[in-house]
Amino acid sequence: MNTATATPTKLTRKDFASDQEVRWCPGCGNYSILSQVQKVMPELGYPKEDIVFISGIGCSSRFPYYMATYGFHGIHGRAITLATGLKIANPNLSVWVITGDGDGLSIGGNHFLHGLRRNLDINIILFNNRIYGLTKGQYSPTSEFGKRTKSSPQGTIEHPIRPVRAAIAAEATWVGRSVDADAKHLAKMLKLMARHDGVSFLEVFQNCIIFNDKAFEAFAAKKVRDERMIYLEDGEPLRFGKDREWGLTLDGLTPHKVRIGENGVTEDDILVYDAKNPSMAYLLANLEYPEFPVPVGVFLDVQRDIYEQSLQAQIDEAKSKPGAGDINALLAGPNTWTVD
């Protein structure tokens, strides 16, 4: 959203930290996300009172308590519904939904789907730790097939949902992904999603230190990140590696990992990313480690009619008609008779 009004006094990250004691487990990935959100908020230019954080239920959903903004800690899975009504009622607000893989994709799966396709100008951050934390360690809808948890002692027999793919399929207009520990990249994503006109959906790989520790370590650890993750940039070739020596090419609908300079591959062969193309976004969203680097960044960034604006336009149109808003005429209706 870029219709913010300028704030009179410059706010700092401290202004966004509430007086509530943060109660996540020490080492939880949520701390890093909270820190980046608090850091980014002053840069967005909203008066503090115009910012609202809304959540469902789960570890991540405690988030609003730690922000010194308006906050609504809802019920399980329903944060997007609350945000939808709030944004429709007051389109001037900057509305942020904080949800998790269980809250957002399991019990709240229906609202995820419809919240995205409706394209209200709200921001949804999904903390994906691939486990149920608050209920102490059951598998989640994003847990890997075969994962052993308290509720799947022999391994899950469910295939996981991939949030980015699901978001693209649900007609989201801005879809991104980042990692809790990659502070710089996360901050950049937060700013970009805030500035998008329409719904923005950010998946954050978030480490649960107690029940699913090091779930993303294999590719997201600082040491291996450059080799095993690829940073999507709109209009830029899909290259990665410490010296950007690796790249992705497309053969029909099949992506390949190639090394520039080997087998006659040149820089020009590398696929250029197009964040306006949902098909390409979907293709990239399929890539997984270890066969491929894991993509992070902006998968999709397109424009479409925004729900609350379209609704307001209909209201304005209805109000402009002759006789609009005449309550006495409405109550009387077209056919009346008089009793003396």
């Binding site: 509430s18 509530q20 008066p47 503090k48 009172e49 115009d50 609202v52 809304i54 239920i57 609003p64 308590y65 010194a68 903004t69 308006y70 906050g71 609504f72 800690h73 809802g74 019920i75 329903r78 997007i80 519904t81 609350l82 945000a83 939808t84 009504g85 709030l86 944004k87 429709i88 009622a89 007051n90 001037n92 607000l93 229906n110 609202h111 789907l113 419809h114 609704l311 209909q314 209201i315 149109e317 209805a318 109000k319 008609k321 609009a324 808003g325 309550i327 006495n328 409405l330 109550l331 009387a332 209706g333 056919n335 009346t336 008779w337 008089t338 009793v339 003396d340």
Partner: protein, 619 residues
């Protein structure tokens, strides 16, 4: 018009019955509008199947519309029809049992074919076998006559046949000396884009009227004079329209926009349709992906300062239940409309019932008090919506309003109020502040226990709310045992204290004595009619109507104490009765009906008589 004997009647009940595709609801509502405009009092009861188009000619597909119109004040659509119009054998089969001996029976004889008779499970043709000899049977070849009448318009035969409901209406209009002009104008407006269809329907209507006149099918025609209603401007209105208008009027009175979150469900969807048409009042309608999203978005809108309403029927309320607890916990104003239907589960979607009272008053996890009101008549839905919103906004609480299928679709003459007659709805948002002091969202008025409505966008009031137990002042999460007990009791006290805003229960008839008939919701009309008739027969019964079901009016216990016996007729197995017994520790008698049909006046009269006679015998 040829000479006919004209007899004057006080009131008449007509039932139009036919196939779902025969347009009986339309025919009935056209008759209703004309009767209303002529100045009769009216009450209607549309009764249709859940299937949009059940197999043509089948018993399951029969759709009916009953109207009572009268020269005096009436409260019900009539127990039994004086006139039954049956468009096919199935309609005859389903409805004949309600037609009293000697009643007028108009049938479309063209539809009594072998196939249709079989579909209606008739072994022989009732038109021929003498089984209808007890009625004043009028056989009209409606299909043939209609097709002939509309020939000049050149419409295809299939379309021509579909005009036969207007032919039937014309016949009935003649029988009751009704003018055709209102219906003709309606047809012209409705089919404006298809002039040949409009013309065909008008020709069919006139043909029916003239047919009845010319061939003198009726020896006598009837006049029902204007009713003596209180002075004013009137319109015809059904309960769903009234509810929607009430919601809009509440928004106008409060000077705040309405947010209506809803998911399509029978019989509540018409409220959504009606509100969606009135965006010129700033109404924001939101058709959600499900019932939960509908209430969730409504809570979100309320949090944002809108007058939020969510409308549904019983199964939808079941889905919204957890969110209603959230509205209780966060103390946000919210109006929930339940247009009740037969249950449990999917139940009887198009039939009426009052079996969601427990759900309304008690049906949530935890101690979760919600004020509950119920509408008495179709027109009363308007006032109940306004009152519900007034209380919700004033007390910062969800309020549940109960209507039902019978009220939702039934129509009555409604005196159009002036805006100034309606109660004020005062909306107060907490003021912005710059003093840097911590805002305490759960600090409250010591007497009414109302907390401030602090909406996002207000400077200096940033705070957190949610479904976890709240500290009694800051609204922050609190697991303190004493705080929880305090808050549970506080929420209960707040709702109980709303009694100060609720008028005392008024009783009609003897102010003390043997029997009080106490009702709630849509049984009001039948109870008033039954009580008035009993009193006219010198049987001393009193009657009263409970509009507020939680909390009860302050004088309810005292009123109950003035009568030896209290009878509660309700369309459930005794839900109000049990609430009253639990609250006031006294026996209450029940008259319970769960047939998907409203009470007949006779049923209540019979029960009251039985109770009084039993007493006499026993005494």
């Amino acid at each position: 018009m040829s000479e006919h004997k004209v007899a004057e009647l006080d009131s008449v009940t007509i039932r139009f019955a036919g196939d779902s595709g025969d347009g009986m609801q339309l025919t009935g509502s056209r008759f209703t509008d004309t009767a209303a405009l002529v100045g009769n009092d009216i009450a209607t009861f549309p009764d249709y199947p859940a299937e949009i188009r059940a197999p043509a000619g089948s018993l399951a597909g029969v759709s009916g519309f009953q109207i009572q119109f009268s020269s005096h004040d009436i409260h019900t659509p009539g127990d039994r029809p004086d006139v039954l119009v049956a468009m096919n054998p199935a309609a005859l089969k389903v409805n004949l049992k309600d037609l009293p001996e000697g009643g007028i029976l108009v049938v479309n004889e063209n539809s009594f074919t072998k196939g249709n008779l079989r579909l209606a499970h008739y072994e022989s043709n009732p038109l021929e076998d003498g089984s209808l000899s007890g009625y004043r049977l009028i056989r009209v070849p409606m299909t043939d006559l209609t097709v002939k009448a509309v020939e000049e318009t050149g419409v295809q035969r299939k379309l021509a046949e579909r005009c036969k409901n207007f032919f039937a209406l014309g016949v009935v209009f003649f029988l009751f000396e009704r003018p055709l002009d209102t219906t003709i104008k309606w047809i012209e407006d409705k089919f404006g884009g298809k002039p040949e269809i409009a013309q065909a329907n008008i020709l069919a209507l006139k043909a029916g009227f003239n047919f009845a006149d010319t061939i003198e099918v009726f020896q006598t025609i009837y006049e029902v004079k204007k009713a003596k209603l209180p002075a004013g401007t009137y319109r015809s209105l059904n309960g769903n329209e009234a509810m929607a208008l009430g919601v809009i009027a509440a928004g106008v009175k409060a000077g705040r926009p309405i947010f209506y979150g809803s998911y399509p469900i029978t019989p509540a969807s018409d409220i959504l349709h009606e509100l969606a048409r009135h965006k010129d009042f700033g109404v924001k309608t939101f058709q959600a992906e499900d019932e939960i999203a509908a209430v969730g978005a409504s809570i979100g809108a309320s949090y944002g300062g809108a007058l939020a309403v969510t409308g549904t029927s019983g199964p939808g309320v079941a889905l919204k239940t957890e969110a209603l607890g959230l509205a209780v916990m966060t103390e946000l104003p919210l109006l929930i409309i339940n247009v009740q239907r037969g249950g449990p589960s999917t139940g009887l979607p198009t039939k009426t019932e009052q079996a969601d009272l427990f759900q309304a008053v008690l049906g949530r996890n935890g101690e979760s008090p919600i004020p509950v009101l119920a509408a008495a008549t179709p027109g009363d839905c308007f006032y109940v919506a306004i009152e519900g919103m007034r209380l919700a906004v004033k007390y910062m609480t969800p309020v549940l309003v109960l209507s039902d299928g019978y009220l939702a679709n039934g129509a009555e003459p409604w005196r159009v109020p002036d805006l100034s007659e309606l109660p004020e709805i005062e909306v107060k948002y907490a003021e912005p502040r710059d003093d840097g002091e911590e805002f305490k969202p759960y600090d409250r008025d010591p007497e009414t226990l109302i907390r401030p409505w602090a909406i996002p966008g207000t400077r200096g009031l940033e705070h957190h709310i949610g479904g976890l137990e709240k500290d009694k002042l800051t609204g922050n999460v609190s697991y303190d045992p004493d705080n929880h007990e305090y808050m549970v009791k506080l929420r209960a006290r707040k709702v109980a204290g709303m009694v100060r805003d609720i008028p005392d229960l008024e009783v009609s008839g003897p102010q003390e004595g043997e029997l009080l008939i106490l009702g709630w919701g849509s049984t009001a009309g039948a109870i008033i009619s039954a009580s008035e008739r009993l009193r006219a027969q010198k049987i001393p019964v009193a009657n009263a109507h409970l509009r507020y079901l939680n909390p009860f009016p302050a004088n309810l216990g005292e009123v109950l104490g003035r009568y030896e016996k209290v009878l509660v007729p309700e369309m459930n197995l005794g839900q109000l009765r049990k609430l009253l017994q639990a609250e006031f520790l006294r026996p209450i008698l029940g008259l319970n009906k769960v047939k998907g049909q409203p009470f007949k006046v006779e049923e209540i009269m019979d029960q009251a008589r039985a109770i009084l006679e039993q007493r006499t015998v026993a005494g």
